[in-house]
């Protein structure tokens, strides 16, 4: 997780919890949407963040920019702790930190023209004089591949892909260094997705941008990201280079996630071994004890119910959180065979048969 140079963004133990009260009498629950996440993002890097809906990936992205206030931990941007800044200091800092949203329909004001939408951040940060502002807006529009004839139209007159381009132009208007792209292509048609991915990559090369690219689409993350982090129930469970997460996943959840991605190749589809997970993502209101994944994990043993696995460097620059693997024995299949004496909670039902400490997963504190 450490890179040789000073990271541009350093996330330390970031936690976002919500309390979902049930009125005066009901029990109050605390939902940890993000649970102690630590990540470094190097300058010019794209860090991909993948996970299923409800895993907390969007909340993490928003918390990094303080669009959602973190409840714990810190976010260092060029060494400055964003979490400690006053609102006005944070507002000034936002010039360097921008966001691109999933929904190009919901994130543009329908009553503003494209010109007004892109001008707004430039005016807010006084980045151009009155005479230059028109030229700057046209330049931005051209950068994202729209014509200046589009300037006085409203968002409703554009297609989804074009609206996403407007959102990107708005983010670029303040010349940010770091952009959180939250599912930027999921709402778009297949033929348009490639256009937006290419645009984001071209902008990165031209402007030296750093991205946190959040997506549930592993195929896109594999293509875009230098490194990819896999999130499950608020925690990072694996992180490595985009290629390695894909070709050599270590943690059982990542293996399952990758085996579920449909491949555009009928021969490969016919040959592949799929790990089909049982059941759904557990509710974050009542998360499983121990390893959050143990309720769905085909490799889970009794220990997985009460030991919270830590993110460990299993292979060089490849971290995973699973108690059944370690740097000496990184392959869970081999380990599972070797330890076949250990009790799988799936083989033996829900009651632990050895003398280990048992916690009923359905009754966590």
């Amino acid at each position: 997780m450490t890179t040789d140079q000073e990271p541009l963004i350093s996330i330390r133990g970031l936690t976002v919890s919500y309390s979902s009260g049930r009125g005066l009498i009901g029990k109050r629950h605390t939902v940890k949407a993000v649970d102690g996440v630590s990540l470094d993002i190097a300058e010019g890097e794209t860090l991909g963040l993948v996970g299923e809906s409800g895993c907390g990936k969007s909340t993490l992205g928003r918390a990094v920019l303080r669009l959602t206030e973190p409840t714990g931990g810190e976010v260092l941007f060029r060494g400055r702790n964003l979490a400690e800044l006053s609102n006005s200091a944070m507002r000034a800092e936002r010039k360097g930190l921008q966001m691109i949203f999933q929904d190009p329909y919901g994130s543009l004001n329908p009553r503003m023209t494209v010109r007004q939408i892109i001008e707004e951040p430039i005016r807010a940060f006084r980045l151009a004089g009155c005479s230059d502002i028109g030229a700057r807006v046209r330049e931005l529009l051209e950068t994202v591949g729209l014509a200046s004839g589009h300037l006085d139209r409203y968002p409703s007159e554009f297609s989804g892909g074009q609206r996403q381009r407007i959102g990107i132009a708005r983010a670029l208007a303040v010349e940010p260094e770091f952009i959180v792209a939250d599912e930027p292509i999921s709402a778009l048609d297949v033929s348009i997705q490639a256009q937006i991915i290419n645009l984001l990559k071209r902008l990165q090369a031209e402007k030296g941008l750093t991205y946190l690219f959040i997506s549930h689409d592993l195929r896109a993350v594999r293509h875009v990201a230098d490194r990819a982090a896999v999130m499950y129930l608020g925690r990072i469970v694996e992180i490595a280079s985009g290629r390695e997460v894909y070709s050599d996943p270590l943690m059982p959840y990542t293996k399952a996630l990758i085996s579920a991605v449909p491949l555009p190749d009928p021969n490969a589809e016919a040959r592949r071994q799929r790990i089909v997970l049982k059941g759904d993502l557990p509710s974050p209101i009542d998360p499983p004890t121990g390893c959050p994944f143990h309720t769905r994990c085909p490799y889970a043993i009794n220990d997985c119910r009460y030991v919270v696995p830590q993110l460990v460097e299993i292979k060089p620059k490849h971290h995973a959180a699973c108690i059944r693997i370690n740097p000496e024995n990184p392959d869970i299949d081999t380990n599972a065979k070797a330890e076949s004496g250990a009790t799988s909670i799936f083989e033996h039902g829900s009651s632990g048969s050895n003398g280990s400490i048992r916690i009923d997963p359905s009754k966590s504190a």
């Binding site: 299923e52 809906s53 297609s159 892909g161 074009q162 048609d189 297949v190 033929s191 348009i192 997705q193 490639a194 256009q195 991915i197 290419n198 990559k201 071209r202 549930h216 592993l218 195929r219 896109a220 594999r222 293509h223 290629r243 894909y246 399952a256 996630l257 990758i258 085996s259 579920a260 991605v261 449909p262 491949l263 555009p264 190749d265 009928p266 021969n267 490969a268 589809e269 016919a270 799929r274 089909v276 997970l277 059941g279 759904d280 993502l281």
Partner: protein, 335 residues
């Protein structure tokens, strides 16, 4: 294995609007064998959903369906509304992308599941209920005896999709039309639902039409594929042929623009330029010409022919044979 379960001939679905006639589906023909899975691929606005809704005669007013749809020897377009109702839900069933839209939120799942079999099969209350429990068990709902009395909102997204599949399958349909059945679901849940459809198909021999925008889903599920664009069939082939050797510049573009995680890609992704055309304002010639690397002057002037480039492999393109032969390969990164 006698005759196709479904044959569609020159299907046209049009809407009369204030701005003239919109041809949402414009001349779609295919035959579906018993037990076959046909994938219909396209982007939004390609007409893929309208083409499958037309099969069920579920196109909203003022939509007009023309052509012929023959289901097991019966011409569906000549049936009266009540005769059609007897087929719909019993012999042909449909599942949609959004299960919340097709389940009544006020009614228990049990009410909705028993309604179908009581209506179509004349089951009594007890019989219908035990059949419904069995269906929920088949689609993998844990503890079906208890869950059957829950309301739709008490199920998760993937489980709701299963409830809808159980409902669609409760009369043992011969044809199942699945319109983007996994688009709203996470990949791990998508894998579960696709597995379920595959398994049910093997068990009961149901024919399936799978409508999707995801070529990856088609690759793993379908025997044959239809690629639609601007209401027309642009390419039709066996899945293997299409992926091995596509004969239409649009399909080639779709295939190439998908990042294949199994392959190392450096540099930009292949991209199809521009935007899909507006269905109300289609150009005179080929609707894809503006975005096509192979387009020549004729493409903007004349509608393209539907050419059989190999047995059972068709492409709607002036240069289909040339594209199929690979004489003009697509540019590396698109136009």
């Amino acid at each position: 294995m006698d005759g196709p379960i479904l044959s569609v001939n020159d299907l046209k679905t049009t809407f009369q609007t204030a701005n003239g006639i919109v041809r949402v589906v414009d001349g779609v023909s295919y035959a579906l064998r018993r037990g076959e899975t046909l994938g219909i691929v396209g982007e939004s606005g390609s007409g893929k959903s309208a083409a499958s809704l037309s099969l069920m005669r579920l196109v909203p007013e003022p939509g007009l369906i023309e052509g012929s749809i023959t289901f097991d020897g019966t011409d569906l377009l000549s049936l009266s509304a009540s005769e059609m109702r007897k087929i719909r839900g019993r012999r042909m069933a449909m599942i949609f992308q959004d299960p919340t839209a097709s389940l009544n939120p006020y009614l228990k799942v049990s009410t909705q599941l028993t309604e179908i079999t009581r209506l179509h099969r004349g089951y009594g209350r007890v019989e219908a209920r035990s059949h419904a429990v069995e269906m929920l068990r088949t689609v993998g709902i844990p503890d079906p005896e208890r869950r059957i009395d829950d309301h739709p909102h008490e199920f998760s997204g993937g489980m709701r999709q299963r409830v809808m599949i159980a409902m669609a399958l409760s009369c043992g349909p011969e044809l199942l039309i699945a319109d983007e059945p996994t688009t709203a679901l996470d990949v791990t849940i998508q894998a579960q639902v696709l597995d379920l459809i595959r398994e049910l198909k093997e068990r009961s021999g149901t024919s399936v039409i799978l409508v999707t925008h995801d070529l990856g889903v088609v690759a793993g599920m379908a025997d044959n594929v239809i690629v639609m664009y601007a209401g027309r069939v642009f390419e039709q082939a066996s899945t293997r042929d299409l992926f091995a050797r596509a004969a239409n510049p649009y399909s080639i573009g779709l295939l190439k623009s998908m990042p294949d995680p199994a392959r190392e890609i450096s540099g930009p992704l292949y991209q199809i330029p521009g935007l899909p055309p507006d269905a109300a304002n289609l150009p005179i010639g080929c609707p894809f010409a503006e975005r096509c690397y192979r387009a020549e002057e004729i493409c903007r002037r004349e509608a393209p022919p539907f050419i059989e480039v190999a047995p059972e492999h068709y492409s709607l393109c002036h240069f289909a044979a040339d594209v199929y032969a690979g004489h003009t390969p697509a540019p590396e990164f698109g136009l």
